[in-house]
Structure formats: C-alpha cells, structure tokens
C-alpha cells in the first residue's frame, strides 16, 4: 500500500515536471517543439478532416437553429446597406487607386506592392482561452509565421503556427497580440479651408526658380471632407514657398496637418474592445476624437506594413498624471464572422527565421 502511494507520488511529480519542461522548452522558442507540432499536425490533419466532414451536418444544424433569425435580419440590413454603398464604393476605389499611385510614385511602400494569398477559415479556436482561427493555406503557398492577415475590411491578426497546408492565425483581440499603430486625428470635423490663393500671383515653376528674394505665396483651395481624420491634399498643397539663392524649400503649414499619435494596440479577449496604450503622455485626450481612424504604423520592426486599416476610436479614457490616454477601438473587421482572408506575404524582421 505504502509502496503504491510512493509510486503514485513519483508518477504525478514526473508528469508535472515533464509539463514544466515542455512549457520552458516552448517558451524559449526551441525548434524541437515546432518539430513536435509539425509531426503531430501531419498525423492529426487527416483525422480532423474526416471528423469535420462527418460532423458538418451537426454543426450546420446547430448554426441553423441558433442563427436563422439573425441571418434573415442581417440579410435585409445588408441589402439596404449595399444599395447605399454601391456609389460610394466606386468613388472610394478610385481614391484608393489614386493614393496607391501617388505612394508608388514617391517610392513609399503600399499594400498593392505586397503579394498576398487568399485563404478560407476552416476552424475556430477550440478553447475558451485563445483567440485563433485556422486557415487552409500553409507553408506550401509561402505562408510564414508572423505574416499579417486581413479580411475585406481590415487587419484581423497574424500567423502564429504554420503547417504544410494550414495555419493558425492569432486574432487581433487575443491578449497576447500587440501591434504598433498610429491614430490619425484631425483638428476639427468642420470642412477644412486652406488659405486663399490668388491665382494670378501663383508662381510657375520657372518663376519660383528665378526668384532671388524670399517670396511667400499662399494657396486657396476649399477642401471638404466628411471622412473623419483624413484631410485630402493637406500635406500636398504648398502653403509657403521659401526661395533662396540655391534651393527652394516648401514648408507645409503644421497647424493644418493631421496629427498622428502612435501607440501600441493590445487585444483584450473575446467580446472586449482592443485598446491603444503608450500614447505620448503629452497627448491631450481632447486632441483625439471618437471616430478617428487607427492604422498600422509600419516601420522596420513592426508586425504589419504601414497604413493597414484596423479600426476607429470608440472611447477615449483620460488618465491622471503623466500616463497618456487609453483608447478603446472598434475594429472594422467583424472577428466573429470570418470567412475569406488575405495573408500578406510580408514577414516582419522580428519574425524572420521562424
């Protein structure tokens, strides 16, 4: 009896130690754990596929039972919305194309220059303590760990595990997810009016180059926008031309530029809005408006290329002292209803080699 108890204790301790050993090994990014996952994934994949086929009628019945009314209501709402959006979409597509052409012309990185792979969501997370989805594209199509994943609306997460023909995507709402973002704020919601331009005095290229003295000209363009946070032409319209003896420098008026705040976006789990922290402490909460767009900031160490749309500010929480405000974000992508996704073939430097 005593011998049995000792053996049992030994076995329990051994199992606990084995668990701790594997956790330590995995947290230190050991390649052996990746190998174990890869082998297990290969063995498990056919079993999972067979079970998925067999259980599809059951899950279909469950979804039909649970979501029929919602689907009908949503369908009606979407039909109305599609009718409203059709015209706007054409104009928006033209603007996006123009913007991409301008960025390409200036040698700036654009999403259009990054290849992507279209994938379909084939499974959700089986646990209550992670926010992941499984997609049907893997290393065979060039998907690698760390690549950003988008749907039609915007960023939804990043690839965390890659197998031959499937991958796991950590959603942006997972508490382990963090991404550097920028908040594009504007000075006001009212139509933006840039200083008046006296067209007869507007300098030509030649006249500017020939000018010996410093001249100041102002331009007049009335730019009206209803898109919060975006000030079309604000950074391109020359507001002040300084002509020196050797060079001409154009200085845009700083007060009319959109204010860009950078911070770190963090997920907070299922059903909770992600937040943006670590904004500059000097940022006044009043400077950031509800509805201001949030886009990825990019940069050499960022997990995503710049200017990928993420969401809009839904609440600004001001904090006392030197702590900057915290922003709650409404994501543009509906994470509860993901179907087709786009994996950008862009591997961040921080994830390379994985």
């Amino acid at each position: 009896m005593a011998q049995n108890k000792t053996n049992l204790r030994r076995a329990i301790v051994l199992l606990a130690l084995a668990s701790v050993f594997f956790i330590t090994l995995d947290l230190s990014d050991s390649s052996s754990t990746s190998q174990i996952r890869r082998v297990f994934g290969t063995v498990f994949s056919p079993i999972e596929n067979v079970t998925r086929v067999v259980t599809r009628p059951l899950s279909g019945a469950w979804n039909a039972f649970r979501e029929y009314d919602d689907v009908v209501a949503e369908n009606n709402r979407l039909q109305e919305q599609v009718a409203l959006q059709e015209g706007a979409a054409v104009a928006a597509a033209a603007s996006v194309r123009l913007s991409q052409e301008l960025l390409a012309l200036n040698g700036l990185p654009t999403l259009a220059g990054i290849n992507s792979v279209t994938a379909q969501v084939i499974g959700e997370t089986p646990t209550n303590f992670s926010q992941t989805v499984e997609i049907n594209q893997g290393s065979n199509t060039g998907v690698k760990v760390g690549m950003p994943v988008l749907n039609a609306a915007g960023l939804i997460g990043k690839v965390t595990e890659v197998f031959a023909d499937r991958s796991l995507v950590m959603l942006i709402s997972d508490p382990d997810y963090a991404l550097s973002v920028k908040v594009v704020t504007m000075s006001s919601r009212t139509p933006i009016t840039l200083p008046a331009l006296e067209t007869q005095d507007a300098p030509t290229v030649d006249s500017v180059l020939d000018t010996k003295d410093t001249t100041t000209t102002s331009s007049s363009t009335t730019t009206t926008t209803t898109i919060l946070g975006f000030t079309p032409s604000a950074t391109t319209v020359p507001a002040e031309v300084v002509a020196g003896a050797k060079s001409n420098i154009t200085v845009p008026l700083a007060s009319q530029l959109a204010v860009r705040e950078t911070g770190i976006l963090e997920g907070r789990g299922r059903g909770m809005r992600p937040v943006v922290r670590f904004l500059d402490a000097s940022t006044r909460a009043s400077a950031i408006e509800v509805g201001a767009p949030i886009v990825s900031s990019g940069g050499s160490r960022s997990l995503a290329p710049p200017d990928v749309v993420i969401g809009v500010v839904s609440r600004v929480v001001e904090r006392l002292g030197t702590a900057g405000p915290i922003l709650e974000i409404d994501l543009v992508a509906d994470l509860s209803n993901l179907s087709f996704l786009r994996v950008l073939l862009y591997q961040p430097i921080t994830e390379s080699g994985r």
Binding site: S19, L25, R37, E48, L58, E124, N128
Partner: protein
C-alpha cells in the same frame, strides 16, 4: 520483436492515444463551432475527467497528460500547458471520488462536471503563471457553467468510452 509490437498496439495506452485523437478531432471541429452562450464545450476535458472518475489517480493523470499534450500540439499556446491542466483534471476527478467506496451515478456525474469545470479555472491560472495573462476574467465563470452543463449531458457516453478505452485485459490463471 513482432510480439512486443502487438502487445504495445493491444495495450490500453495505445487505445487511449487513438481514442484521444478522435475526441480531440471532435473538439477542434464540432465543438469549436457549437458554442452554447458563446463558450466552447471542452469535450476533451470531460473525457479526461471520465477517465479519472472511472479509474484511479494515476490513470486519470496519465490520460490527462497524454490528451493535453496532443491538445497543446494543435493550439498556439505553449506545449505543456494543457497537459498540466488536463493532468490535474484527470487526477482531480479520481481524487474527488476516492472517499466513496461505491459512488452513485449522480455523484460520479457531479464529480466529472466539477473536475472538467475546474480545468476552465486552472487553464488561465497556468497561462498567467507563464506570463500569458489577460484571461483571468469573469467570463471564466460562464465557461465553467457551460462545461459543467455539457459534462452532465455527455458524461454517460463518455464514461462508457473511458471504461472501454482504459480497460485492462485480465488473463485468468496467469501469475
């Protein structure tokens, strides 16, 4: 050599691995989509709790460790977390039934539900210990209730499955 291989294949632990793979495939397909009140039913935890409730602490712990290790291999969480948690669930179910010589069916069912629900508390705790915090929230209670309810519903077939999987072949007359 061949006889030894046959013995391994016929052992209850080999059967346990195969059955765990099947239950795990149910977990990642059917039960990742069927989410009562938005919570995923942890059928694997229920199976492990059944294994512990129908056998001893050692069997429950090993069944939990093996199943959990396989669960970890398909999740993005560190390898070993679910192994530890499900080991606790399996052993916990057996420990809770130890004081009772011949437990009634409803007591067994209650223990399975409690042990499986316990797993929903231990998981975020272990994750927090290894630095993956952010999951210790009130919604754990919801996950516990759903798992408990599902355990009450699925315990009967799972007990039969666990008994069949982990039964030991008794050879009469051998020493």
């Amino acid at each position: 050599m061949f006889e030894r291989l046959v013995a391994v294949v016929r052992s209850r632990w080999f059967r346990m691995v195969l059955v765990s793979l099947s239950v795990l495939s149910l977990q990642t397909t059917l039960f990742s989509e069927v989410r009562p009140f938005g919570y995923a039913v942890q059928i694997l935890a229920i199976f492990v709790a059944c294994a512990g409730a129908t056998h001893d602490v050692y069997t429950g712990a090993v069944a939990g460790f093996v199943s959990g290790f396989m669960y970890d291999a398909i999740l993005a969480t560190p390898l070993g977390i679910s192994a530890l948690v499900l080991g606790v669930v399996g052993a916990g179910a057996a420990v809770m039934l130890q004081p009772f010589r011949d437990p009634t069916w409803w007591l067994r069912l209650l223990v399975i539900g409690v042990a499986a629900a316990l797993g929903e508390v231990v998981t975020p705790l272990v994750k927090a210990v290894v630095g993956l915090d952010g999951w210790l929230e009130w919604r754990i209670l919801g996950a516990m209730f759903v798992t408990f309810g599902a355990a009450c519903l699925f315990a009967a077939p799972m007990i039969s499955l666990a008994r069949w999987t982990l039964r030991e072949k008794v050879i009469y007359g051998s020493r």
